[in-house]
Amino acid sequence: MAWLWFALLNEQPHGTVAAARCWDIEGRASGWLAAWSVSHDRPPGSLGIDVRAVDPGGAAAWVSLALAAPGERVLFDDPAVSWALRQTLAHWPWAAMSTLTRDSSTIGGAFTAIQASSPRALSDDPFTRLFRARVLYVDRGFVGWMPSPVGPGIQRYSGSPWPWDHFPTVTGV
């Protein structure tokens, strides 16, 4: 399984793989981050997220959540998205990062996380140049850890959220 459904919700969700409360940078409650298996019916408004970015056993983290506006259609192949992916490959101080897929051709935003005492490093998230972003403090039980992508690839594998980097099947020599 390469990806999960992901959403930011006002109410506590059910049937999730992982869920955790979150707060904005001023400490105001901002709802819940939630992820569901793709075998689950797609929750309304949810987006695809790289499965490695979510861990129900993960530590608390700061998250930069950059989301396209409702109805905004941005192609994954847009040069601005390619630029942001290159920036991500060149500079990876993140604990986890995933683009958020809306459908097979459009991007719904990006999820970028750090485990640090301050969210300051998230100001370098390149996707904040593309989409309106908010910084959230996310309680333990949601954010995963993943190694930096190998590089230099910026293409998605069978429509999975980047940086997931495997096709469903691989043929040997």
């Binding site: 490959l89 060149a90 190694p147 190998v150 590089g151 230099p152 690839g153 495997h166 020599v173």
Partner: protein
Amino acid sequence: MQHDLTQVLRARPAPGETFPDLALPDHSGNPRRLSELAGGDPLLLQFYRGFWCPKEQAFFRGLVRLQDEAEVAYTRFVSVSVDPPEVAAAFRAGLGARWTFLSDADRTYVEELDLLETTDTLHRPYAPTVFTLYPDLTIHAAYNGYWFWGRPTLEELRQDFRHITRTIRPDWEVPR
């Protein structure tokens, strides 16, 4: 007889053989394995002397140009040296490279791979060598870059990756 056996054990990896599954820290200090880095894609595996070598700088400039093609070609690059991770990270950033650098600062593999550049007793670096690998780490081609012209041209690398990709992708021919 023992001497002969040592020679065999330390033979440089050659085409058709499986490259050892190196376990080394990357430029951020995180432990990585070569098999994990290759994933399911063709892999360029480059051993280089160090940031200080003008020949490496010249070769890297070519690889940085090639990454603009590799980034859309489901092909991965990995560069290995004896530089510590923080030095590799600084060199990588200066080059504008967007692929993974591995650090063998302890020289864990340099003798096992028979890639020690014995003529440089100051740095004891890897001898410049480039391999193109299948996803299962089978070696497609090996290039001895001790002399600069022994290194692969970008065109040779394109040809290697075309061959590997055609072999491993069942849909190389347009699906009908």
